[in-house]
């Protein structure tokens, strides 16, 4: 395959690419190459060339340097530079581990799902290269339990790779040994939190750990461990194959490369969009995805999964480049790049209730502020939504929220109040309307007769 050097301002066409043969997907190549799931097809498309290059041409430390040079940042949410993370692994003997975080559960995020079911070898190759780079001989893929098919696809791919000498002993005759274990979770959002993931992988409840020590020092089985999101690892083979300069050619100054923007909610064409980092919201929502559905207007959007603050539908926001710095400058976060679109017929109170219910249901129960506080938040929002709000409820929501955030072990507690705080900043009048009128200010609920206790 000849590689086209896309400049950072070039836009990948939207999926489905309406049969346009000139289009080149990278991470989403399976959309144009039938059967890419199979090893033979993957290899024909240049698959495992990155691994070959890593093992034959570079020392492990050089692989880390290459990934550092590429500028690849973690796709799970925090955006930590992947190469730097790997360089924290101490150069000591004994077991070290790579854990791929495929516990994709953040509302609005669905890139791993597509990558795993359609191109499992891309991920396995990324894990093998990462293992080589940090001196590990065992990689785990922690895949959420609900991805039963994803787990089957991965198991089959590992089997194929093992039969071809790409997993196991003496890989490609280089003396490098590496096993990959596909580990299915069993339904718990919290296991996407890296330390809870490790607990779960050790066969325990998914309770987050107190840090330090960080996983790089004491991770799985108290050994040095690298944990990366699946999408992050899927980028690695391409960086090895085409070089860090090629990769850094995409994206913006501080957020290099391309990523999958997961677009959902009230848009005409939701789905994963593979775009250079720093593409604007406007380009994604209006130029590629056909705009807000049913000809309606945009009310607000969530830019990076349900844990990131709402942004208003202003021109300033729409023209913001979707990278870590750009979105932070607008007061929200890039997060997992799960862009959720809300049309102007959405009652914000109902939407916020639904968002916060998720955190209530998924709180692991370890920390009291999060376990109890998320229940309270839902109770208060529930009565607001159902026409039973009381004066002072909005202050109470903020107060309870501020007693959860920062007072729990992990980010779940910090995330739970986020939708409330940001929605109150943008749409406070809708909450007040609910308190005083007992029904929605906008949307279908606005026309219903007021019956206290059953306004919805």
């Amino acid at each position: 395959m000849s590689v086209i050097n896309y400049k950072s301002n070039q836009i990948f066409p939207p999926p489905p690419p309406s049969g346009d043969p000139t289009y080149q997907y990278i991470l989403l190549k399976h959309r144009v190459v039938p059967g890419l799931r199979k090893l033979a097809v993957y290899q024909k498309e240049g698959g495992y060339e990155g691994l070959k290059k890593a093992l034959n041409d570079y020392q492990p430390g050089q692989v880390i340097d290459l990934v550092k040079q590429s500028g690849l940042r973690g796709r799970g949410g925090a955006g930590f530079p992947a190469g730097t993370k790997w360089s924290f692994i101490p150069k000591v003997g004994g077991a070290k581990y790579v854990c791929c975080n495929a516990d994709e559960s953040e509302p609005g995020t669905f890139s791993n799902h597509e990558l795993i079911e359609n191109n499992p070898h891309q991920l396995i190759e990324g894990i093998l290269i990462t293992c080589y780079a940090i001196g590990s001989e065992l990689g785990f893929i922690y895949i959420r339990g609900e991805f039963a098919r994803g787990a089957r696809v991965l198991e089959e791919a590992v089997k194929e790779a093992r039969a071809a000498g790409l997993v196991g002993k003496n890989i490609l005759g280089t003396g490098f040994n590496c096993e990959v274990i596909v580990h299915r979770g069993a339904g718990a959002y919290i296991c996407g939190e890296e330390s809870a993931l490790l607990e779960s992988l050790e066969g325990k409840r998914g309770f987050p750990r107190l840090r330090p020590p960080f996983p790089a020092i004491a991770g799985l089985y108290a050994r040095p461990t690298v944990i990366n999101n699946s999408e992050t690892l899927c980028n690695v083979p391409h960086i090895l194959r085409h070089g860090p300069e090629w990769y850094a050619n995409y994206g913006t100054e501080k957020t290099k490369g391309f990523r999958l923007y997961c677009l959902s909610g009230h848009v005409e064409r939701p789905g994963n969009y593979e775009l250079p980092c720093g593409t604007t919201f406007r380009k994604l929502i209006y130029d590629l995805a056909g705009g807000v559905w049913k000809g309606r207007k945009l009310k607000a959007l969530i830019p990076g999964g349900s844990s990131t603050p709402f942004l208003a539908a202003t021109d300033e926001v729409l023209d913001t480049p979707m990278d870590f710095e750009g979105i932070a400058a607008r007061g929200s976060m890039q997060g997992s790049a799960g862009v959720i679109v809300f049309d102007d017929q959405t009652c914000i109170v109902g939407a916020v209730l639904r968002l916060v219910e998720f955190y209530k249901d998924e709180s692991c129960g370890k920390c009291t502020p999060c376990r109890e506080g998320t229940q309270w938040l839902v109770q208060i929002l529930h009565r607001l939504e159902h026409g039973e709000g009381r004066p002072g409820d909005l202050e109470l929501l903020l107060n309870v929220g501020s007693n959860i955030a920062g007072k729990s072990f992990c980010l779940l507690g910090d995330s739970a109040p986020v939708p409330i705080e940001s929605a109150l900043k943008l749409f406070r009048e809708e909450f007040e309307y609910h308190i005083h009128q007992g029904r929605c200010m906008v949307g279908p609920g606005a026309n219903r007769p007021v019956t206290i206790g059953a306004a919805h």
């Binding site: 609900e146 098919r149 299915r184």
Partner: protein, 171 residues
């Protein structure tokens, strides 16, 4: 009907769990996949096989039980042959998941979490299934159905009323 206290793992299930034990650096890591094996056999996770799992993995019974009660995929009680799970998180909510759930409850005559009297279908909701680009989405047992319209949902439920095997299994 076998008394729950008499439920035992089959030889095949035991073999699978032994293989899992040998796969991991620490046997305890095999608890989650082992419980999937248990659920595959019984349709839920009864108490006696949990003790068998603990014995095979050489860990405490309580160490298995605390896992079985923490993760939502392990059913503590028997459920229908087909568990229909409607995702009701934000992106599906925005595209009509609540309406699907109401439709299902009405059609099947059960409340959310309930099972039809013939034991064929359990209707439940579930947190974000990571298929937000194909909202609303549902699962039948562990298999996905995407972009579900009310008419399709109706057809799915009709099909499941008669189905012997999960018709939505994709290898």
């Amino acid at each position: 009907m076998v008394e729950e206290s008499n439920l035992k793992l089959t030889g095949e299930s035991r073999q699978k769990i032994v293989a899992l034990k040998q796969l991991y650096p620490s046997p305890r890591s095999a608890v989650l996949p082992a419980l999937h094996v248990v659920q595959e056999q019984f349709g839920y996770v009864p108490v006696p096989p949990m003790a068998e799992v603990a014995d095979i993995l050489e860990i405490l019974h309580g160490e298995v039980e605390q896992v079985a009660t923490f993760y939502r995929m392990y059913h503590q009680q028997p459920v229908g042959k087909f568990v229909v799970k409607v995702c009701d998180s934000i992106s599906c909510y925005l595209r009509g998941s609540d309406e699907l759930l109401a439709q299902g409850q009405q059609k099947l005559g059960v409340k959310c979490g309930g099972t039809t009297p013939d034991g064929q279908i359990t209707l439940d909701k579930i947190e974000c299934l990571a298929a937000c680009g194909n909202a609303p989405c549902i699962q039948v047992n562990d298999e996905f159905i995407y972009d579900v319209t009310p008419a399709q949902f109706d057809a799915v439920l009709d099909e499941l009323k008669r189905a012997k095997k999960n018709p939505y299994f994709v290898p």
